[in-house]
C-alpha cells in the first residue's frame, strides 16, 4: 500500500535529555527556527523547518523527557502535544550508548499509533565504547526504522529524512506495538476492545495507549476513558485488571508495566546490540575522580565559580567601555540634533540614559552566559548539582537550583527563566525567591561607590562582604520560607549524570543567544518603560526658575569661594538648578513623603529618591545620587567628586553607607525582574515578592542601623 506523500510533513522531535536532541534539531533545521512557549505553560517550544525536494519538513522540538507520565510539566506538554496535534511522524533521538533507557521513551511514542523513526545518535561515542548496533535489525524487531546519526557532524541527517518519507509511504497495516507479556496483554486487550467498541471514541483516541495507561493507574487516561459511552464498565474492568496484576506480581501495577517494558527492550537489544568490550568510562572517570571527589567537589565548584566571575569581568571590561562610549556618543549626536526642551530631555536623559546604562551591562552578561553554557554543555552542571545538593537541600532548595542562582549574579531576568529546569512548582518558586539576593551586575556600581567612599581601605572586601551577605540571606530566607509559605516536600533529587562531552561552538552560541535575547528584550521593553516613567517622575512638574536665579546662585558661589573661576561658578549654578528641579519634581515630593520611612534607617529624602529610581535599574541609584549631591549630571562610580560629596554630608557615615548597600541588595528587584516573576509565577507571587523584600530590606536596614548606632559605630 502506498499513500501520496503530503507536501508538508509535521514532525515531533522527541528524546531523552542529553541525547543530543538540540544539536540534532539545529542540524536538521539550520538557521530556520523560532522560539515560543507551549500554550498556557512556561515550557519553551522550538519550531523549525527544512525544505528538500519541494517538500517541507516541519519540526517541533518536544521537551526532553525520560517517560510520558505526568511526573513533570515537560512530560505533560510532550504527551498533550502528541495527543492534540497528532504529528505525521515522531522522530525520537536515542543516545546509542544507553539504549535501554532511551528506547523506554521511544516505545511509549510507538503506542500512540503514530509512525516513529528512531535516530540512533551518539553513534561515534558508542563505537568508541565498543558498542555495536545492528540498526536495521533493531528497527525490524521493534517496528521502528532506525538511522545512525552524529549530531555535531550532521552525519545521517539525509538518511533520517529518507526514513521519514519511507515510513509515510509504506504505513503498516497493523501498527507494531511493544509487548508486555501474556499476563498483562490479556488485560490490555480486554480494555482495548472495550475502548474500541465505540468507533467515534476510537477515532479520537489511541485505544491501546489508553489501555496501557489505565493499567498504570494514570489519572489523565482515566479522565479520557470516563468520557466513553461505556465509561463505568471500563473503569470497573481497569480496576479489576489492576487488582489482578498487583495480586499476581505482588507490586504496584505501574511498576509492573514499566518492568515489562524494560523486559521487552532487553529482549530486542540482546538480539541486535553487541558489546565487544566492556563499556569504557575511563576519561570521564579520571576527571570525576577529582571533580566529584566527596571532599573536593565543593572546593572545585567554588573555584569554577570564582574563575567564571574573574574571566567575566576581565574580558567584559573592554566591550563595556566601548558600549559606554557608544551611548555617550549617541547621546551627544541626539543632543545636538534635537531642539532643547522636554523632548530632548526625554530622549537623552530618559531613554538613552536609562536603556543605555542597562545595555552597557550586556557584554558582561553575554560573557557570563557563554561560560555557564559552556559548563552546561560540557556536562559540569550535573556535577555542580552533586556538589551542592546536600547544602542546598538543607535549606529547602534543590541541587538544580544552582544554575539559576549562579545566573543571578549576572542578571535576574534570565536567571528566573532558568529556574524552569526545576520540575516542581514548589522548587521553582523557592529558587526564584533566592535570585534577588544574588547581587546582579547592576548592583555592583552602587556597592563600588559606597564602599569606595566610606571604606576606602577595604573597599574590595566590603563589596565581597555584601555579596556573601546576599548568599547567606538567600539560604536563610529559603529555610524560613520552607518552614512557612513554602512548606511541602522538595522534590527528590534524581538526576542523570552524563559523561563529559565536547560541546559544539554552535550549540553554546545558540544557548548564549537565547539567554541574551531574553535579557535584551526585557531591557528593550520593560526597562525602556521604566526609564521613561522614572524620567517623568523626576522631571514633572517642571519648576519655572525664578528670574535671575542662575546669576544669583553663581554670585553666591563666587562669594563663598573667592578667587574661583567664573566657569566653576556657572557649573555650580547649573547643578544646583538641577537639584532644585529634582526636589520640586514628583520624585522629590515622593522622596519627602516617604522620608519618615527612611528616617529610622538613618537617611533623609535623598536616599529615598535614589532608592525609588533604583527600581528602573539598580545602577541608576548612582546617577540619581550624583544629581542630588550636586556633583554633576554625568556621575560614575569612579569619579571622586560624588564620593567626596557623600563623605561631606553629615547625614552619611560608614554605618549608613553600609545600610544603603544592604538596601540596594535586599529591596525588591528592578521592574524587569518583577515583570519576569509575574510572567513565571503570576500576580500572587509578584505581590508576595514586593511585600516580602520591602519588609525584609527595611527590617534589616533598621536593625543594622539601630544596633550599629547603639554599639557606637559612626
Amino acid at each position: 500500500m502506498s499513500a501520496p506523500l503530503p507536501r508538508v510533513i509535521r514532525i515531533a522531535l522527541a528524546g531523552n535529555p542529553n541525547s543530543g536532541k538540540t544539536t540534532l534539531f539545529n542540524a536538521l533545521t539550520g538557521a530556520h527556527h523560532k522560539v515560543g512557549n507551549y500554550p498556557g505553560v512556561t515550557v519553551e517550544k522550538r519550531e523549525g523547518s527544512r525544505v528538500r525536494g519541494g517538500r517541507s519538513f516541519r519540526f517541533v522540538d518536544l521537551p526532553g523527557t525520560y517517560s510520558l507520565t505526568a511526573y513533570s510539566l515537560d512530560e505533560v506538554v510532550a504527551r498533550d502535544f502528541i495527543l492534540d496535534e497528532k504529528p505525521d511522524v515522531i522522530v525520537d533521538v536515542l543516545d546509542s550508548t544507553n539504549l535501554d533507557r532511551n528506547l523506554y521513551l521511544c516505545l511509549q511514542f510507538q503506542e500512540f499509533g503514530i509512525p516513529v523513526v528512531g535516530a540512533l545518535n551518539m553513534t561515534d561515542e558508542a563505537a568508541a565504547k565498543g558498542i555495536e548496533i545492528d540498526a536495521e535489525n533493531l528497527g525490524r524487531v521493534l517496528g521502528i526504522p532506525m538511522v545512525k546519526t552524529v549530531g555535531p557532524r550532521g552525519t545521517g541527517i539525509e538518511e533520517l529524512l529518507d526514513a521519514v518519507e519511507a515510513r509515510l509511504e509504506a504505513p503498516d497495516e497493523e501498527p507494531r506495538m511493544p509487548g508486555y507479556g501474556a499476563e498483562l496483554e490479556a488485560g490490555i486487550d480486554r480494555l482495548r476492545s472495550l475502548l474500541a467498541s465505540d468507533p467515534a471514541f476510537a477515532a479520537r483516541h489511541p485505544c491501546r495507549w489508553l489501555a496501557v495507561k489505565l493499567l498504570e493507574k494514570d489519572e489523565h487516561a482515566a479522565r479520557i476513558a470516563a468520557g466513553h459511552p461505556r465509561g463505568a464498565e471500563i473503569e470497573e474492568a481497569a480496576r479489576e485488571s489492576v487488582r489482578w496484576i498487583e495480586g499476581h506480581f505482588g507490586k504496584d501495577s505501574e511498576i509492573v508495566v514499566s518492568e515489562q517494558r524494560y523486559g521487552y527492550i532487553r529482549g530486542a537489544v540482546r538480539e541486535t546490540v553487541r558489546v565487544i568490550r566492556k563499556p569504557n568510562f575511563s576519561r570521564t572517570e579520571a576527571a570525576d575522580k577529582v571533580i566529584m571527589h566527596p571532599l573536593l567537589a565543593l572546593p572545585v565548584f567554588a573555584a569554577v565559580l570564582w574563575s567564571v566571575f574573574q574571566l567575566t569581568f576581565l574580558i567584559g571590561e573592554y566591550p563595556m567601555g566601548w558600549l559606554e562610549t557608544f551611548f555617550g556618543w549617541l547621546a551627544r549626536i541626539v543632543e545636538s540634533a534635537l531642539p532643547g526642551g522636554l523632548l530632548k530631555s526625554l530622549v537623552v536623559d530618559g531613554i538613552l540614559g536609562g536603556v543605555g546604562g542597562v545595555f552597557s551591562f550586556v557584554p558582561l552578561i553575554v560573557i557570563l552566559f557563554f561560560l555557564l553554557s559552556l559548563l552546561e554543555d560540557v556536562g559540569y552542571m550535573s556535577r555542580a548539582a552533586f556538589a551542592t545538593d546536600k547544602l542546598l537541600h538543607t535549606f529547602g532548595l534543590h541541587g538544580q537550583s544552582i544554575l539559576p542562582m549562579m545566573l543571578g549574579f549576572g542578571c535576574s531576568v534570565p536567571a528566573i527563566l532558568a529556574a524552569r529546569t526545576l520540575k516542581s512548582r514548589r522548587d521553582r518558586v523557592a529558587t526564584i525567591l533566592t535570585i534577588p539576593f544574588m547581587s546582579c551586575g547592576a548592583k555592583l556600581p552602587v556597592y563600588v561607590l559606597l564602599a569606595g567612599a566610606f571604606f576606602p581601605d577595604d573597599a574590595a572586601n566590603m563589596v565581597m562582604l555584601i555579596y556573601a551577605i546576599g548568599v547567606a540571606l538567600s539560604l536563610a530566607s529559603s529555610l524560613f520560607l520552607h518552614n512557612t509559605v513554602l512548606r511541602g516536600e522538595p522534590t527528590p533529587f534524581v538526576l542523570e549524570l552524563p559523561p563529559y562531552r565536547a560541546p559544539t561552538l554552535r550549540g553554546v552560541l545558540w544557548h548564549v543567544w537565547e539567554k541574551s535575547w531574553q535579557y535584551a528584550k526585557k531591557a528593550g521593553t520593560v526597562i525602556l518603560a521604566a526609564s521613561v516613567l522614572i524620567w517623568a517622575l523626576t522631571t514633572f512638574p517642571v519648576r519655572e526658575p525664578a528670574p535671575g536665579e542662575a546669576d544669583r546662585r553663581a554670585a553666591e558661589y563666587a562669594a563663598d569661594h573667592p578667587g574661583a573661576p567664573p566657569e566653576e561658578a556657572a557649573a555650580w549654578a547649573e547643578i544646583s538648578r538641577a537639584t532644585s528641579d529634582l526636589e520640586y519634581s514628583a520624585a522629590g515630593r515622593i522622596g519627602k513623603f516617604i522620608e519618615p520611612a527612611f528616617r529610622p534607617l538613618g537617611f533623609d529624602w535623598k536616599v529615598g529618591v535614589a532608592t525609588l529610581t533604583g527600581f528602573a535599574a539598580k545602577e541608576v541609584v548612582v546617577s540619581t545620587l550624583g544629581v542630588l549631591y550636586r556633583t554633576g549630571l554625568e556621575e560614575t562610580e569612579e569619579s571622586g567628586t560624588l564620593k567626596g560629596a557623600l563623605r561631606a554630608d553629615p547625614g552619611f557615615s560608614p554605618r549608613t553607607a553600609f545600610v544603603l548597600m544592604l538596601l540596594t541588595l535586599i529591596l525588591p528587584p528592578c521592574f524587569a525582574s518583577l515583570a519576569m516573576i509575574r510572567a513565571e509565577l503570576g500576580w500572587g507571587w509578584l505581590g508576595f515578592v514586593v511585600v516580602y523584600f520591602l519588609a525584609l530590606g527595611w527590617g534589616i536596614g533598621f536593625a543594622v542601623n539601630q544596633i550599629g548606632s547603639l554599639a557606637g559605630f559612626g
Binding site: 525520560y66 517517560s67 507520565t69 511526573y71 550508548t97 544507553n98 535501554d100 533507557r101 523506554y104 507490586k251 504496584d252 505501574e254 511498576i255 514499566s258 518492568e259 524494560y262 563499556p279 568510562f281 570525576d288 566529584m292 571527589h293 566527596p294 571532599l295 567537589a297 565543593l298 550535573s382 548539582a385 552533586f386 556538589a387 545538593d389 546536600k390 537541600h393 538543607t394 535549606f395 529547602g396 532548595l397 541541587g399 529555610l479 520552607h482 518552614n483 512548606r487 511541602g488 516536600e489 522538595p490 527528590p492 533529587f493 534524581v494 538526576l495 542523570e496 549524570l497 552524563p498 559523561p499
Partner: protein, 132 residues
C-alpha cells in the same frame, strides 16, 4: 539490603523499589527495575547524593531515595570501598537521627526544621499513601 547502605564500589542487583507512587515510578522509568544490575560509584560528603551506575549510565540520587531501593549485593565487596577517601568522610555528628530513613517521625509538619527531614518523610510506602 537497602541501596543507601551499600558501600562504594558495591555491585548489586535490584530486588524492589519500595518508594510509593511518583518517585518509585520515576526510578522505575529510569531503569531501576527488578533484576537490573548496577554499581555504586561514589557518594557525596556529609551523606550527600550517591552516584550509581545502572543500565550503562550514571545517575545521581539522594541517600533517602536510595533507602527505598532494596538490592541484593553481588560479589565480594571491593577493597577500595571499605576505607579510602570516598568513605572515610562520614561526620556522624552531622547526621540527624534516623537520616537513613528509619525511625523518622512521621508527618512532621510542625516546628521549625531543616529541609533534611522532608526527604525522610517521603520514605516508606505506608507513610505516603495518605499524602496528596
Amino acid at each position: 539490603m537497602r541501596l543507601s547502605e551499600a558501600r562504594i564500589g558495591q555491585e548489586f542487583e535490584i530486588l524492589a523499589v519500595r518508594i510509593a507512587r511518583e518517585v518509585g515510578r520515576r526510578l522505575a522509568d529510569m531503569g531501576f527495575t527488578e533484576g537490573a544490575r548496577g554499581r555504586v560509584i561514589r557518594g557525596g560528603a556529609f551523606r550527600g547524593p550517591l552516584q550509581v551506575r545502572i543500565r550503562d549510565y550514571d545517575i545521581l540520587l539522594r541517600r533517602c531515595e536510595a533507602a527505598g531501593i532494596e538490592v541484593l549485593p553481588l560479589g565480594d565487596l571491593p577493597a577500595e570501598g571499605t576505607v579510602g577517601p570516598d568513605f572515610g568522610f562520614r561526620f556522624r555528628g552531622f547526621r540527624r537521627r534516623g537520616s537513613d530513613g528509619r525511625g523518622r517521625r512521621e508527618g512532621g509538619g510542625r516546628g521549625f526544621r531543616g529541609a533534611l527531614g522532608a526527604c525522610g518523610d517521603r520514605e516508606g510506602p505506608a507513610a505516603r499513601e495518605g499524602g496528596s
